[in-house]
């Protein structure tokens, strides 16, 4: 489940272990049918709640049981009183902390946590954020934790200075990317934060911020040109530009950067693809800006790539046929 952890080969279970597993399975099935019976009979008591707890501890993926649990909680007497509700939901969060250890990547568990916190009369979002920090510390690429982080941050912004929180989060993604530049969750979160930051600042600061982003991307590309994260972020940065002029400027930068990289390593697959798509995009935004020599170079690159990278041969052929029609040059991939 975790990144960078070695998988331990499963052993053939012994007779004792088999027997134990059979008994556990029997108990689980019994518990499961008991909970389903209770639900069918619309029982909403503390006993029923306890039965769902036992079952969910064994299996976090029973969304029906999670739903049933929420219904029970809301129908208990304690729900009507704010203090008792607070206590009940706090217990619920503790219960979830126990379940999280069984399966950190359970959608239903995370959904339930969001529900409990949203209805908590006095929620402590800072505390919740430190929990997320811990989870990301354990596995920096756990996208459940990152998704949940965005939820917590959104709530935190209701009570704290929203801009400051955004800045903190932005710095957090920088730190995470520095720890691991192939962390897609961190790049993605960054792309979620950047637009808000860009709308707040003046033109000069905007240029500076974009310059830093460019440097970060280049840094990642030079460190590992075959890693897709920085390239995707490049594309995304292109999307959020205000005008086509800005986009064209960024594309020229990108093409120049790739040329420099290719001087060092002429056979990088990903940089070559990116060079072709850079020219394709430039030609679309500013017809006539791509020279005939550049067009021919692109077709030649696609032909070479098709030869050396058989897994993506179809993709190169498709790019080649599209561009040959658009640019009216001969398709070298046929």
């Amino acid at each position: 489940m975790m990144h960078g952890k070695r998988r331990v080969a499963a052993k053939e279970p012994t007779q004792d272990e088999k027997e134990e597993a059979r008994q556990q399975l029997e108990q689980y099935c019994a518990l499961n049918s008991r909970v389903m019976d209770l639900k069918a009979q619309s029982v909403f008591t503390a006993d029923a709640l306890d039965a769902t707890r036992q079952l969910l501890e064994l299996n976090t993926e029973l969304h029906t049981v999670w739903n049933y649990r929420r219904t029970i909680i809301k129908k208990l007497d304690a729900w009507k009183d704010t203090e008792r509700r607070q206590k009940m939901l706090e217990q619920e969060l503790e219960f979830l902390m126990k379940v999280i250890r069984n399966n950190i990547k359970s959608y239903w568990m995370w959904n339930h946590r969001m529900w409990a916190l949203s209805l908590l009369p006095r929620a402590t979002w800072r505390k919740e954020l430190s929990l997320v920090d811990k989870l990301i510390g354990m596995d920096a690429r756990n996208y459940h934790a990152w998704d949940y982080r965005r939820f917590v941050i959104a709530r935190l912004k209701d009570t704290e200075d929203s801009d400051a929180v955004d800045e903190q989060e932005f710095a957090f993604t920088t730190a995470q990317i520095n720890r691991d530049c192939a962390n897609h969750s961190a790049w993605h979160n960054r792309s979620k934060l950047l637009p808000a930051i860009l709308t707040r600042v003046d033109q000069q600061r905007r240029e500076e911020v974009l310059q830093t982003e460019n440097e970060l991307i280049q840094n990642a590309i030079y460190t590992d040109p075959e890693d897709q994260n920085a390239w995707l972020y490049y594309d995304w940065l292109l999307d959020i530009q205000k005008s086509d002029e800005d986009r064209i400027r960024l594309l020229h930068n990108k093409i120049a950067a790739i040329r420099e990289l290719l001087e060092l390593e002429e056979d990088g697959k990903r940089p070559l693809v990116e060079l072709v798509s850079g020219f394709a995009e430039l030609g679309r935004l500013q017809p006539g800006s791509v020279t005939d020599a550049e067009k021919e170079e692109c077709m030649e690159i696609l032909r070479t790539l098709k030869g050396v990278d058989s897994y993506h041969a179809g993709r190169y052929a498709d790019m080649s046929s599209t561009l040959s029609k658009r640019w009216n040059v001969s398709d070298l991939c046929v």
Partner: protein, 500 residues
């Protein structure tokens, strides 16, 4: 064990010297069912790997028992104490050499143990150099004597070394179960030191990405080395294509490395010495060993032993040998004679004589020897930690036409008390040619910290000149490498022959 109890006994293996290799061999032989007698002429374990307090080290230097490989030791004292930095070359220096040793040694022989080192120093004071003004020498003597009064918190290793996380020594420690008795700490960083400063060597993709002192082009070059050389398959192909040229040349020509990038890969990671010729295959293998060592016990590639790795490991193996029935005698001079034409040896220890089928010895016990590796070492006690928050670090000084290995330790490895730090530096070759280089290496690494006491040593390893006699096996002393793997490999080879 009393000598007379031993008299007339026979052993399968007699091991002379309690250095690292001998200890491993004795322990494994005993574990393999052999009867083992392990003897050292010194009153301490470890031989050339021993770990001393400063006073014990002075005593060791003055009363050296391995008469054919006596070291030259110089003790430099910052006569200003902790107040002010003083250039190493200006510091009063106590020299323990041929001339002064006898005077001090005679005195030590008749002094009570507690005051031996300081008494010896008093005797050495007139031989202090740089003593243009006696006041300075007096103040240095006072500083040093005050230091000796309270030197129990300083553990000085004769041969400081670290363990490669995926190296032969660690494998051996795990296989033999000795690992449980020895404590280690990760060597946090690897530095490249030049006269104009100290720079961290980026070791992983993350390090390279986050590094602010490398240009983009440099980052790409470094990543290419790491990804292609560290890959067994790719590096094999590269070596084949280039025809196994020198590793240095491979890095320059194939990977276009130069300047600090070349030094970082060649000197800090592959640890190629100044006059060492390493071919591409061997160089790639060294990089692979380094890279594969990272991540085994944390992100770093090396482990540093607490209380001195070599000496602690040695003592653990000796303990293990004793547990398996081995007999130990320290402070005993021995001589070895072939027993008769049918093989075997007669070993005399003063009044007792024992028989041995096979003998393993450190060459200092051999009858005829030639000189082996000469090493120059510096040990520098600093008034404060240097290298930021690091608790232990490895560094390589590359400048002034030389390459010096450095090991930095702090309280975290129990080498010095809190608030102080210690720097070891060593290079192959004599002290007269290398002292200046060692001074440069220390000054460049320690920055503004004040070297309180600095020791320079020239040690001579011996080589047995004949190994013609069957059933005698010679070990090696600590070489210039930073890790303990050569000792593990050499010991293993002898064990295989012994247990055959």
């Amino acid at each position: 064990m009393a000598e007379r109890e031993l008299d007339g006994q026979s052993f399968d293996v007699v091991v002379l010297g309690t250095g690292l290799e001998e200890a491993i061999i004795a322990s494994e032989a005993a574990a393999g069912g052999k009867s083992v007698l392990h003897i050292d002429r010194n009153p301490y374990y470890g031989g050339a790997y021993a770990c001393f307090t400063l006073s014990a080290l002075i005593e060791w230097a003055v009363c050296h028992r391995d008469y054919r490989q006596v070291p030259i030791v110089e003790i430099l004292v910052n006569s200003e104490g902790e107040k002010q930095q003083q250039k190493l070359t200006d510091q009063p220096t106590f020299v323990i050499d041929k001339n002064s040793r006898e005077i001090a040694a005679a005195f030590i022989a008749e002094s009570p143990a507690a005051s031996r080192a300081s008494e010896a120093l008093h005797r050495l004071a007139p031989f202090a150099t740089n003593n243009t003004c006696t006041e300075k020498t007096d103040s240095a003597t006072t500083t040093l004597l005050a230091f000796l009064q309270n030197d129990r918190n300083y553990q000085i290793e004769l041969a400081p070394k670290v363990a490669l996380c995926r190296g032969r020594m660690i494998d051996l420690l795990i296989d033999s179960g000795i690992g449980e008795y020895v404590q280690f700490r990760g060597v946090e960083h690897n530095y490249l030191v030049r006269d104009n400063g100290v720079e961290r060597v980026p070791e992983s993709k993350e390090d390279i990405f986050a590094c602010t002192t490398l240009s983009l082009i440099e980052k790409r070059k470094l990543m290419r080395v790491i990804t292609s050389v560290a890959d067994n398959e790719q590096s094999r192909r590269i070596v084949e294509e280039t025809g196994n040229i020198l590793f240095d040349k491979l890095l320059r020509e194939k990977f276009k490395l130069d300047g600090k990038l070349l030094d970082a890969v060649l000197r800090c990671v592959a640890r190629v010495g100044m006059n060492e010729n390493v071919n591409a295959a061997e160089g790639c293998e060294r990089i692979q060993r380094y890279v594969s060592s990272m991540g085994r016990y944390g992100r770093m590639a090396y482990l540093c032993g607490l209380y001195g790795a070599g000496s602690e490991i040695t003592q653990s193996f000796c303990r293990m040998c004793a547990v398996s029935g081995g007999t130990y005698i320290l402070s005993k001079n021995v001589s070895v004679q072939p027993a008769n034409d049918n093989g075997g040896f007669t070993i005399s220890l003063g009044s007792a004589t024992v028989q041995a089928e096979k003998v393993v010895m450190d060459p200092t016990y051999a009858s005829t020897v030639t000189s082996g590796i000469v090493l120059s070492r510096a040990i520098c006690i600093l008034d404060a930690p240097v290298l930021g928050d690091d608790t232990t670090a490895l560094a390589t000084y590359v400048d002034n036409g030389g390459v010096v290995s450095l090991l930095y330790v702090t309280q975290a490895t129990m080498a010095v008390p809190k608030g102080k730090s210690m720097l070891y530096a060593w290079v192959e070759g004599g002290l007269s040619e290398n002292k200046n280089l060692l001074c440069h290496a220390i000054s460049a690494t320690c920055g503004t910290a004040i070297p309180l006491i600095t020791l320079f040593m020239e040690t001579h390893l011996l080589k047995a000149s004949s190994s013609a006699t069957a059933d005698i096996y010679f070990t090696n002393g600590p070489d210039a490498t930073v890790d303990l793997d050569n000792a593990a490999v050499a010991a293993n080879n002898i064990i295989e022959l012994l247990l055959k």
